[in-house]
């Protein structure tokens, strides 16, 4: 990319549009997120740029909306499936990227779900739109624990090393065989949503391990521990009782050794106005 002195550096550009988008979203949605989450969101974009600059600079079509209209559920509801992807077209190759704010370990552990999803997209792209496609991949922008740790140390080399080890691009195999099943499963979910079926996953699911990653974690740790609504959730409570986790049982409700707690404290103090 040529250096043009009249253009602001990309990181400044990111900070600026990030702030604008934040305000617009607040206006649109009527609510906001904590100072800490906001900072984490900005970090995701900045680190995406640092880590995946090569891909970012080659994107030719961004936020392409792929739609599969005229779907009908088993209970007779009409609906449309929508997905959003980014496309890189090069001389002889077309690559489809699905950018997710999930972390790479979660994507790898649930690869089947993502494979189903991208293969439906591939179907729309190739068969309905008649466009060529050579490769597909998920980009997982939620950076791993090591990067997070490195961000809070003053040493810039730590971040460089952590970034070098991070593998956020997960290739997805082209396999259209199960496309119709996926669409049918989607239709069933639409019926469940519309008819009001919202029970949490079973205890077995919570106890199951999510493989890969910097440490083996159960679904309950990875998903539920990050969910504010866990305290009132039957499945999580059964899980917590079964694990005899003192912190979650009995009377102690606020986790003492949460590594994120100090960060939360910093971000909240930075944002505090009433003094």
């Amino acid at each position: 990319m040529p250096d043009r002195s009249d253009l602001p550096p990309i990181e400044d550009f990111i900070r600026e549009v990030f702030e604008e988008n934040f305000e617009l979203l607040v206006a649109e949605s009527g609510h906001t997120i904590s100072a800490e989450s906001k900072q984490a969101a900005l970090n995701q974009v900045l680190l995406y740029w640092r880590k995946l600059r090569e891909i970012a600079e080659r994107v030719t079509d961004t936020e392409v909306h792929l739609t599969l209209p005229n779907q009908e559920t088993p209970q007779g509801r009409e609906y449309t499936i929508e997905g959003v992807v980014d496309i890189v077209r090069e001389d002889d190759r077309v690559i489809m990227y699905d950018i997710k704010t999930h972390d790479a370990d979660y994507v790898r552990a649930n690869l089947e779900l993502y494979k189903q999803q991208l293969n439906v997209y591939a179907h729309i792209w190739q068969e309905l739109r008649q466009q060529p496609l050579d490769e597909m991949a998920v980009i997982a922008t939620d950076f791993p624990h090591e990067v997070k740790e490195a961000l809070s140390t003053p040493d810039p080399r730590a971040l460089e090393m952590a970034l070098a080890q991070w593998e956020p691009v997960i290739p997805i195999e082209y396999d259209p065989a199960h496309k119709d099943e996926t669409i049918f499963a989607f239709s069933e979910v639409v019926d469940k949503i519309e008819s009001g079926e919202f029970a949490p996953p079973s205890l077995e699911v919570l106890e199951s391990f999510i493989t890969g990653g910097w440490r083996r974690e159960r679904f309950a740790t990875r998903v539920c521990r990050n969910c504010d609504a866990r305290f009132s959730c039957d499945a999580y409570r059964q899980y917590a009782m079964g694990r005899r986790r003192v912190a979650e049982r009995g009377m102690v409700y606020f986790i003492e050794d949460d590594p994120d707690q100090e960060e939360w404290r910093t971000a909240s103090l930075d944002a505090s106005t009433e003094d």
Binding site: A41, H65, P69, L113, V120, C227, V252, T273
Partner: protein, 888 residues
């Protein structure tokens, strides 16, 4: 641009099928007027659309026609809707339809550049759109926007500055201001004064009034009940207010639009930026909005307005229905052309008896001007598409309210028992206001039949059961604030504090675990408080300066060893993480103060929103979630979701972290209860209307007629046929002499018109059955246009209705099929259906976890980043080409 799309078609070899083919695929058969409107392309279009006439579909297909068949780029379209929800539905629908086209032709469409949203959000977008509205690409940072509640808080906190600016003394300013509006018995309440000013200021801004210009002609105008001095004072206060906004880099809704208008005025090409301006709900626009729309259309003249003057509801927000009624003349004035007028008058919603009834209702009012020469209503006649002529409008027997309410409740019970509606949320009760005794009576009558209602806006939201219980427990934990002052509001609030305290005590009694939880939280508050005193005493012993930088070497050990410091306090002081931050900030030249270190060490691990989610774990609240998860009653969970929005706002704007300095002398409790909740309490809920509320299953919704705008229900009960005509609102009498635009409806008739329009909206919401509560007896009234209709002997009464003849309410196919996202819907539901319900369906604001907001923020910014990189690449390529040319 049509060359471009033709070009693409040649490349792809695929031309879109004729639009009729798409209609067939989507099973849409437009009537003649709809077809004509969809296919209209050039010049202004005046689309009058009666209730249920398929307006949204027409808007959607017309936009598609422009994009697909006339090569209009989406970013050249400006489409303004009344709510964000309506905007989202339109975009979703458009995406689905364009996706269909793309699947035929292979040509994709990118809607991200299209301007679609409420006028407010579009003005905001415009003010940040460097590329299109700022010649030198340089724009000042737009000020932060205050919503209604934010504006109230701003007026309160900038009070002294504003009144002093206008030459008043802060102590008696409230009384002097209130005296303008009620000289006989001026209130002393600052709250009342703020409300009076807010109304006046917003209207000044919406009417683009310039204080200097008004002052210049003040003597020439006659002000009726207001004196010249009154007007002078208001203008001065308005100027003071605007100055405080500028100083604080904030703005309000009305001034935001003014700013956008000024940008358009000063930007030379503003009339050509968009090829098509489309405005929905045009009857509810105000003066500044009208000016913006005409300005944007001044080059292309493609202004399409859609609306129904009979459904104009928002005069109290400065809307002037004349903008719509007189659109043809205004078009002549501003654009120099006559608009094409198309009337959508076939109603697809209601049974024919309902349509006939509201047509006759409107005919009871004389809409002609006093001289008979013109009319204040657009001439129209609505026809029902549904042809059955069986009774569909019924009234109760004329009887005292208790009797009539009971008759309705019994009937509603039967409707449900006999399966004429699938769910209670298909029966809506509509009222001019939910703060009335009639609403209470009806609620009681339904509850006596074992039916539950959902009425979060009846009375105050803070008075719904879930709010009382949650805030009561907060009161136990943080202590009851001392409340000074007098007056009815204060007394009511004191009573509210009593109620929540008593309810929380009961809950505490019933659940020992909850009692223990409350006790533990109190202990933590106490601990932080005493640690704070302990640490401060170390500071004073060493004669340290609290504002000086925190020095780990010198101070940490002494603080850590302070006698009596709790384990928690020690842990927070000893934190290695904190030490790193201290060093980092010192290196960056922004050292953290000793005061910061102490506040940090005495801060709690949880804020107001964290506390909420923990409370939900106790049986009383948990049971509410359990029911909603399994097809049951969703009312309480919907209310809890709203509570998180209030708590989030408090956490975000006031207290993001609870530090011990806030716990001194009950300061925190005073901020939360006396300042924040009391303001919400006084403002009532009209200021906090949320039109996107879902109607929970299993409950009968009670809505104001305003909230029902745009909605439809199989069964509608109009629970009160009376609204008192108090004459023109005071603000109209104040503003009228200042206006230079053509006069609107006469002051002595506007309220009669407004009341008729409001009831018209209510009557036209019903699909299958419209039930009227016909009250008679001492103190009971009925608004005049209803009277002849009620005394018509052919009007069926409830007792005569044979329920079996009623059509069953079926899931009516909505105008636009819903769009489900693979990620935000399918995958989220697959991960955890319960999370989906809580955060996506009911909009709970999370405290710690990531949400859709987070994802949207990252995705939008990445999208902008990619666009910028693509743009820069093109720019570089052009520079490169130019260079080569030069070299050659």
């Amino acid at each position: 641009m049509s060359n471009f799309s033709d070009h693409l078609r040649i490349i792809t070899g695929n031309t879109p099928p004729p639009i009729e083919r798409l209609w067939a695929v989507m099973k849409f058969t437009p009537n003649d007027a709809q077809r004509e409107a969809i296919l209209h392309v050039n010049g202004p279009l005046y689309l009058t659309a009666g209730p249920g006439s398929g307006k949204t579909r027409v808007l959607l297909w017309r936009t598609l026609n422009l994009i697909v068949y006339h090569g209009v780029e989406p970013e050249k379209i400006f489409l303004s809707t009344f709510t964000e929800k309506a905007a989202k539905q339109l975009v979703d629908g458009l995406r689905a339809l364009l996706g269909l086209v793309t699947n035929f032709t292979g040509q994709p469409y990118d809607l991200s550049g299209m301007y679609v949203g409420t006028v407010h959000s579009l003005c905001r977008r415009l003010l940040t759109d460097r590329r299109r509205f700022f010649a030198d690409r340089h724009r000042p940072r737009p000020p932060a926007l205050l919503d209604d509640l934010g504006q109230y808080f701003h007026l309160n906190s900038a009070w002294e500055q504003i009144v002093t600016f206008a030459g008043l003394h802060p102590l008696d300013a409230a009384e002097e201001i209130n005296a303008i509006f009620n000289s006989q018995h001026p209130s002393l309440s600052r709250h009342r004064a703020i409300e009076n000013l807010r109304r006046a200021f917003n209207r000044f801004s919406e009417e683009l009034l310039d204080p200097k210009e008004i002052r210049a002609r003040i003597d020439a105008l006659s002000w009726g009940e207001f004196s010249h001095g009154d007007i002078e004072l208001l203008l001065n206060l308005y100027e003071g207010y605007r100055k405080t906004l500028e100083d604080g880099l904030v703005t309000d809704f009305a001034l935001l639009q003014q700013e956008a208008y000024q940008v358009l005025e000063s930007f030379p090409g503003s009339g050509e930026v968009f090829e098509h301006i489309i405005v929905d709900e045009y009857q509810d626009t105000n003066t500044i909005q009208e000016r913006i729309f005409f300005k944007l259309a001044s080059g292309t003249k493609n202004l399409c307005v859609v609306g129904d003057d009979d459904q104009a509801l928002y005069r109290f927000r400065g809307a002037t229905v004349e903008n719509f009624v007189q659109f043809p003349q205004r078009c002549q004035t501003y654009l120099g052309v006559e608009p094409r007028q198309i009337t959508l008058n076939i109603n697809y919603r209601s049974r024919s008896q309902i349509v006939n009834f509201y047509g006759r209702f409107m005919a009871q009012v004389d809409w002609h001007s006093d001289d008979g020469a013109s009319t204040y209503r657009v001439d129209k006649e609505i026809h029902a598409h549904r042809s059955d002529a069986l009774p569909a409008v019924v009234a109760t027997a004329p009887s005292p309210p208790e009797v009539a309410c009971q008759e309705i409740a019994v009937f509603v019970r039967r409707l449900l028992d006999e399966g004429k509606v699938e769910n209670a949320n298909q029966i809506a009760f509509l009222y001019p206001s939910l703060k009335s005794r009639q609403v209470e009576r009806m609620k009681e009558a339904l509850e006596a039949q074992g039916l539950q209602v959902y009425a979060p806006r009846a009375g105050r939201f803070l008075e719904v059961d879930e709010a009382l219980d949650v805030f009561g427990i907060y009161l136990l934990i943080f202590g009851r604030p001392s409340l000074r002052g007098m007056g009815r509001d204060v007394e009511d609030f004191r009573q509210w504090l009593n109620t929540i305290e008593a309810r929380a005590e009961q809950l505490r009694h019933a659940d020992p675990r909850l009692a223990q939880f409350i006790h533990d939280r109190q202990a933590e508050v106490q601990r932080a408080h005493s640690d704070y005193a302990t640490l401060l005493s170390v500071v004073s012993r060493h004669h340290w300066d609290l504002e000086a930088p925190y020095n780990i070497k010198r101070m940490k050990r002494a603080l850590y060893n302070a006698p009596g410091l709790s384990e928690t306090g020690k842990r927070l002081l000893a934190s290695a993480y904190f030490d790193r931050i201290v060093q980092k900030r010192a290196q960056e030249g922004r050292p953290l103060s000793l005061n910061y270190a102490i506040r940090r060490a005495t801060s709690l691990d949880w804020n107001f929103l964290d506390l909420f989610y923990r409370l939900m774990g106790f049986e009383h609240f948990k049971a509410m979630f359990d029911r909603a998860e399994r097809f049951g009653d969703e009312g309480p969970v919907a209310n809890l979701g709203l509570i998180t929005q209030y708590l989030q706002r408090f956490t975000d704007e006031r207290v993001s972290i609870i530090t011990a300095n806030l716990l001194e002398n009950g300061k925190l409790s005073a901020i939360f209860f006396n300042s924040y909740l009391f303001a919400l309490f006084r403002l009532g809920e009209s200021e906090w209307e949320n039109p996107e509320d879902p109607f929970p299953r299993g409950r009968i919704p009670f809505l104001t007629i305003h909230q029902a705008k745009g909605l439809e229900f199989p069964v509608v009960v109009l629970g009160n046929l009376y609204k008192r005509d108090r004459g023109a609102p005071q603000i109209e009498r104040l503003i009228r002499p200042m206006l230079t635009r053509p006069d609107g409806e006469p002051l002595d008739r506007m309220t009669e018109f407004d009341i008729a329009r409001m009831f018209y909206v209510a009557l036209s919401r019903a699909q299958n059955l419209l039930i009227l509560a016909h009250f008679r007896g001492p103190g009971q009234h009925v608004s005049p246009p209803f009277r002849p209709l009620l005394s018509d002997p052919s009007l069926p009464r409830l007792r005569d209705i044979d329920i079996s003849t009623l059509p069953e309410a079926r899931l009516r196919e909505s105008e636009i099929p819903k769009v489900y996202s693979f990620t935000a819907d399918y995958l989220l539901y697959k991960k955890c259906p319960r999370q989906y319900m809580i955060f996506r369906k009911f909009g709970f604001v999370p405290s710690r976890s990531q949400t859709m907001f987070f994802g949207s923020l990252v995705h939008r910014t990445l999208e902008d980043l990619h666009h910028e990189l693509i743009r820069r690449r093109k720019l570089a390529a052009n520079t490169h080409q130019e260079g080569e040319k030069r070299d050659a």
